[in-house]
Subunit: 499 residues, 2 copies
């Protein structure tokens, strides 16, 4: 066996352990009976340790080094690059710190749930402070050029830096604030009240699975279940698990499904020959999010899409009132500055993200003390969104991320929003009348284009390389600004902004 | 850390790997999309190999040896005995063969499903042949005194041999054939036609879960899903997974659920402190089956049970005709030589098992070629049951076992049938009027007795020891023969047999 083959065998072992943990996590969020939690914690802990031990063993590094001269194909060279990056990141942080972080995360998650339930930020503050301390230590071990944030955000988005995120947010901050203001002043006030009701859950399941199938999610290689917090999981190009949830707002299941199906189709789109290897899957969180947002927002909140599917929706939910396409289109695109990020519309969403990004940077550098977070948070919401959370549960306690030790993650959501339109403009240039395709329910050309340009690349290229290959340039906020300005000027009957 | 503690830590690692494999297996049979089979095969192969490697590493043997002097409690001594047996069996089989078997099993399962669906035995034949080849190799590695079968069947039922099974079947063969003959000649012809129909699946699910809960299956520590071939899985005392299936015969889901719930309650009944250790779970397949059959047949096909639940059944299935308890009782105990083992009545069931036992012995010794299996199968059915399967889906393709590499397993079903009555006679002696308890839907005393005598023992004692502790003697066919003779003489109005 060559060193390269031995390395691949070793990676397959790591993949089996990670896949087992992924399935246990999926099961915990979908089907596990309550009593199973204790056993699940033990099993996940052990499998996680084993995966980490197997991957970071000296033998992996040795095989990786010796494989360099054996890699002949483009794919093998890409594999070695990806493994080298993963291995560097995994070995730079001492296992003692990893363990400390995991232990803290377990406690933090419980404390966060309790603090949020009781609206008691002070009870969570010292835990949050420890979490940021650990993140700071992690960053020092990982190393960085300019800013402590660079080390952390690179874990989620290879090559991303604070300076890059600053530029991104700097480009969209004022235009968004202005657009929100103009929308607020518009006499058009879309009503989405008719989308709230007691909708039959099995009908919602049937309809959302129908939509996911229509856009191209392959149910022979995946499925959909319910979970309290929707996510897309999986452990193979051929076994991708979507989840959704059913709430009073009918859009929750519909757009949640289109979102997760977007993630899912990206996962299903990796080449078969990369299945179960580090080359399969999404290249970064930002690019992944661009695909979920493409199918959720650009396709799923478009007029042509609902020109086709509104009749089906009304047939399946007879409690919906008589309504025309424009009324429905306005309702699902209602812009409303609010407190909760995950329920935000596409115009205000990035403003939510900005607040979190600024919080993370300020706490990491020490400019902001954790105890002052609620005031900082609320003043930023007031500044960017014009609303002030009435309490911390609807404010700085709302997200799960920090309690899970995910710091440096949030900006990838905004990157996804921007990139989705940047890629979409190229797609439209190539495909022509995409609206007509959507009205026909013919998503094959759209999915095929995305598969060819994005999904089939898996993790082969760096995110920035891939972006340039697909769109001809690095991340560019203009397509997003251009498209949402045009879309919401239309919906809200606004005169084009004076430039 | 003492050697014993180090051993337990090591066993916890093995348990995590085995549990992951168990969950992947459960998922494959319940929810996995068809496309996931390839990845599943690889993952199960690797996890199985890792569990085997971790368990059979020299370090385990060393720790086991050094732990002997440290084990002070009864439980720790039992643990070391169980681990020693498992280790002896596992070290004899090379890891490569284990992985080969597991990979083949994952593929074989898919092939079996397809072959059964298409009634295409030839498409499954070469896979089946490979499976028997592997079993033969396994037997040679394990070693045996008298017959190749001994090595394989001992894996499922510690201490069992082909000679022992021959004796067991020898004791019941003629009495059963005679009883079937007398029943056939009886003028009483129970009609169970009313149990066939298009029953709403979600109502079936609700009703069967209700029954499982009534008899004592704890849904906080388990759940029920559907699978093509019902089974009971799980990976913790607190996370036990039942499956059932819905067919035109209403009894399929009802009695299948009671059966699997019997297995499940045995699993749930191990002491909490043994959870995730080798001491938890059932002691052997035969003893396990005795419990599923107890709840399915002795409880679930009794008159007192349905005196309580027939009204509920009729309320939930309004398409059922008006019927009295005796008519219903006769219908669910109709004796009818048929093709499908899992749907067989308790009188003919063991004849189905006998066919499989003979098939396995004959293929293993080479007396029977796999390609000739359908003919052999059909002629045996004709000989023992007086019926000839019209196709292989209703014949030799009906069981999942061989596709799962379970060879040497079937006779434990018959052992379970016999042992269920042997244990039940002791239970009735202790509890008195069990019929009255069942009529009241009060299963706590019955479940409590079984928990105390059988379930709480986990794997602490050898099966034969446990049997003697509970019933005062080794496996004895007489209670089974006595009880079913009496029961079916009653149902069919037969004069007591001349002895």
């Amino acid at each position: 066996m060559s060193n390269l083959e031995a390395l691949k065998k070793r990676l397959a072992d790591v993949n089996a352990l990670s896949s087992a943990a992924a399935m246990m996590d999926w099961d915990q969020q979908t089907f596990m009976p309550r009593g199973g939690a204790g056993a699940r914690a033990q099993h996940l802990g052990i499998l996680g340790r084993m995966a980490h031990e197997t991957f970071t063993a000296d033998e992996t590094r040795t095989l990786l080094d010796k494989s360099q001269s054996e890699a002949q194909t483009e794919d093998d060279k890409a594999l070695l690059r990806v493994v080298a990056r993963d291995l560097d990141l995994s070995t730079k942080i001492p296992s003692a710190l990893v363990e400390k972080k995991l232990r803290l995360a377990a406690i933090a998650h419980e404390k966060w749930i309790e603090a949020r339930a009781k609206d008691d930020f002070p009870s969570f503050a010292s835990t949050l402070e420890q979490m940021f301390d650990i993140a700071r230590q992690e960053a020092e071990y990982l190393g960085y050029q300019d800013h402590v944030y660079d080390a952390l955000t690179d874990l989620y988005e290879e090559g991303a830096t604070k300076a890059g995120w600053d530029a991104m947010f700097g480009a969209i901050r004022q235009p968004l604030v202005d657009l929100v203001k103009r929308i607020k002043e518009s006499p058009v006030k879309p009503d989405d009240g008719f989308l709230y009701g007691k909708w039959d859950e099995s009908v919602q399941a049937t309809f959302t699975q129908y939509l996911a199938k229509e856009i191209g999610f392959d149910f022979n290689r995946g499925r959909q279940d319910t979970a309290p917090h929707p996510f897309c999981g999986g452990w193979s190009v051929n076994d991708v698990r979507l989840t959704t949830r059913f709430k009073e707002y009918l859009g929750s299941a519909v757009f949640g499904t289109l979102h997760e199906a977007g993630h899912g189709m990206y996962e299903q789109g990796s080449p078969q020959e990369w299945d179960l290897t580090p080359l399969a899957g999404g290249v970064s969180l930002g690019v992944h999010e661009s695909q979920s947002r493409t199918w959720e927002n650009i396709v799923g909140r478009s007029k042509p899409f609902w020109k086709r599917y509104l009749p089906q929706l009304r047939a399946m939910f007879p409690d919906l009132p008589e309504l025309d396409l424009t009324t429905f289109y306005r309702a699902i695109n209602k812009v409303q500055p609010s407190f909760i990020r995950v329920e935000a519309d596409e115009v205000t969403y990035n403003l939510h993200v900005m607040v979190r990004f600024e919080v993370e940077c300020a706490i990491l550098t020490g400019e902001l003390k954790v105890q002052d977070l609620p005031d900082f948070w609320n003043s930023k919401y007031s500044e960017y969104l014009g609303v002030t959370p009435p309490n911390d549960s609807l404010g700085c306690l709302q997200d799960v991320h920090w309690s899970q030790a995910s710091i440096g993650y949030f900006p990838t959501y905004s990157m996804g929003n921007l990139l989705s339109y940047q890629i979409w403009e190229c797609l439209v240039r190539d495909l022509g009348d995409v609206d007509a395709l959507m009205e026909d329910g013919n998503f094959e050309p759209v999915l095929g284009w995305l598969q060819e340009k994005v999904y089939r690349a898996g993790r082969k290229y760096k995110p920035a390389e891939l972006m340039t290959m697909v769109t001809g340039r690095p991340l560019d906020p203009q397509p997003y600004l251009r498209n949402i300005t045009q879309k919401y000027e239309g919906i809200y009957g606004l005169a084009p902004a004076v430039v």
